[in-house]
Symmetry: C2
Subunit: 420 residues, 2 copies
């Protein structure tokens, strides 16, 4: 071989130096999962061998129901169908011209007003509704409220489009070109979408924003479905087990606001709900858009976190609240604050009503995000900003939760003492 | 505004689905750091308030020295200079033609043979050398062995090049074009590099592969230097503290081969040595090539891990052992196995000699990587492969270490019992 010098060095940064701009750390995520499983596996086995299965499914049911023969929360959920059908009926009348736009708006307003106040009244007045049952029912009603609001808006937009003379244009606009269609599905145009089938597809679809033609995946992948189902069952089990064997004793015995478990529960809940459950539902319904969350773990500002951890709600706020406000001439700042107010209201609604305590902690927690966002955005950048966001999640969130838990236990303990 | 439909969905995968191909998780790394700091901060404060500073610097020194007035390991390191000077002297004689190539090879062979056997003999025969002191001295000698081997090879290649008639070509080849030069430095060509200054720059530079003209960074960044120095001090403190307050009692009281601490110690050692210390040295010496490790955390095969976690050694093996073997006509498989054998030999050398026990655990641990690599490569792919690599690191490594620790304690305990 010809003599050579085999040079082997060139100027370059280490990957972990921030200057390198390297950010591919999928392996670290796997490491976290492996560590989580390994460090729990031995504890799990030891615990199982020692105590048997402590997790009590009956006790879980009792979280939802006080009296197994009366299911107030479940009844509430069944009643919710009435509001769905009223919204559909109103839209049909509007499309036929039987209702004027004004009457239609009035019916929708009343329907949604009742939709949001009626379950709250039931939960507040009926003593047989448990906090967990009440919170579940109210969550479902809130989701439905957002969905029906979107349904009303989109159908209104369709009528506005149809009323324009250029009918051809409206038809091509109703099927935006960036959507991908699988072979079998044919596109639906305006009055054709007002069917029970279409309505219930939207009600069950993992989105809050109505569209006449959702992007659909070509088929149901059974393997994908089963993996998501296994994850759902696994995390349900882990969440309930952790809550029963770990959280409740800690809260009862001592109040430690900086406990990490709460944060881990939230992370697992996030994965369980936003990845496993929503992907499961989407796969079943062949719903194509699986962007239920974005890369909030890399957030370098508080604003980025709130815009990316819950995409369905973020999309809804943008499409049906923030942008309409802008179109009506409100400034960006006012519109943004209005979004935070709305979000704060629903956070408070979903916590205060089921617990039957009005403390405004959730509301203030949401509103405190505004100065926090300003502080982090002003003083911290890059990985320091990201660390600050993580710290605010790790410390702030369990703190807010604990305020309620603390007040709830104090309240009920005092009642027990009074009752003696 | 003109009526529109505001479409907001398109077909896409969730980021955490493996199908999305998304792998930017820098935030997860920050999360690990935040969790590490937060979960240790309270413990650290409590411990400090309760016990004061338990970490004993004198005890650390005693790890290296039995008798503070005799420093055998330090003396060994000072003696190492002799071998460096012999190598430089030999190369000078070779360049002048005073030594024939054959005589030069012989002197180098003897020099390096003594370099690797002499410290081992001292450590084995001198009872005042502690295991930690012995391991440190042997590590330094091993690094020097690899460096001098590379020095000898490169100077030989230079002579081979000069001996070719086309002298112009040789000069352009001695300064490869892919290297970047800062303004002030001028390139060195063959016999001009045989100086004490050049030799000691190579001895201290964070690389094992000699080059006549290393890529240099334009200046010493003081901020970068101080950040790395702080990290070095912090991790030194943490490593020593963990070893003193945590590891030793656990090993003494009970043998738990699956303890996670060992793995965390290794991770911290990795960061301390390969990122903080090597970058610190490189910054001081304006050494441009900072690739001391690659993205081994994403390894999906065992081979990828071994090729990427320790780049200086990997580079040396490739340039001075694996490729020369290939050039001499050996097959890929034989050459690869030879690299593993060499690596296994040095692992054993660095562990057995300082502990004065020949158990072959390290040797077998390295050799066991070959079937493991086959198994993981054959049956596991993607994130599953990555998880398997992590598990083999988390479980395998502490297991090997523990075999030695166990044997060492048993041996010394028996000696103490015999001594009574």
């Amino acid at each position: 071989p010809r003599p050579r010098l085999y040079p082997c060095h060139k100027t370059q940064d280490s990957l972990l130096s921030s200057a390198s701009g390297y950010n591919k750390y999928r392996g670290i995520l796997n490491w976290c999962v492996v560590m989580l499983v390994l460090s729990n596996a031995r504890l799990f086995l030891e615990n199982l061998l020692k105590h048997g299965i402590l997790v009590d499914p009956i006790q879980v049911v009792s979280l939802f129901l006080n009296d197994p023969y009366r299911w107030p929360a479940a009844c509430l959920v069944i009643v919710a169908n009435v509001f769905v059908l009223v919204a559909l009926y109103t839209e049909r009348q509007l499309s036929k011209g039987s209702f004027s736009e004004r009457l239609g708006f009035l019916v929708h307003a009343i329907n949604m007003g009742v939709l949001i106040t009626f379950p709250a009244a039931v939960v507040l007045l009926l003593p047989s509704v448990t906090p967990v049952g009440g919170a579940s029912a109210l969550s479902i009603y809130t989701i439905l409220f957002l969905k029906l609001y979107s349904y009303k808006d989109v159908n209104l937009w369709c009528r506005e489009l149809s009323s324009i003379k250029v009918k051809k244009l409206s038809r091509s606009l109703s099927c935006p070109s960036q959507q991908h269609w699988s072979g079998g599905d044919c596109k639906v145009s305006y009055p054709g979408n007002l069917t029970i089938r279409d309505m219930y597809y939207f009600v069950f679809a993992p989105t809050l924003c109505y569209e006449l033609n959702f992007p659909r995946s070509p088929s149901v992948r059974v393997g994908f479905l089963l993996r998501r189902l296994c994850e759902m069952l696994f995390f349900t089990q882990v969440l309930v087990a952790l809550a029963q064997q770990w959280m409740v004793p800690i809260i009862r015995s001592s109040m430690k606001p900086l406990e990490v478990p709460n944060h881990l529960l939230w992370l697992m809940f996030f994965y369980w709900f936003f990845h496993s459950s929503m992907n499961f539902t989407a796969e079943l319904l062949r719903f194509g858009d699986r962007q239920f969350y974005n890369d909030w773990w890399n957030s370098e500002t508080v604003t980025y976190f709130w815009q990316n951890w819950n995409i369905p709600v973020h999309k809804w706020c943008l499409r049906h609240f923030y942008k309409p406000l802008l179109r009506r001439g409100f400034s960006k700042k006012v519109s943004q604050s209005a979004v935070f107010f709305l979000s704060a209201f629903f956070h408070e609604y979903l916590v205060s009503v089921p617990l039957r305590m009005f403390r405004l902690w959730a509301f203030m927690g949401m509103m405190a995000q505004i100065p926090l966002a300003w502080f982090v955005g002003r003083f911290l950048r890059g990985n320091y900003g990201n660390a600050a966001v993580w710290i605010s999640i790790i410390i702030g969130q369990p703190f807010a939760v604990l305020m309620y838990v603390h007040d709830y236990y104090v309240l009920h303990h005092r009642q027990e003492v009074d009752g003696l």
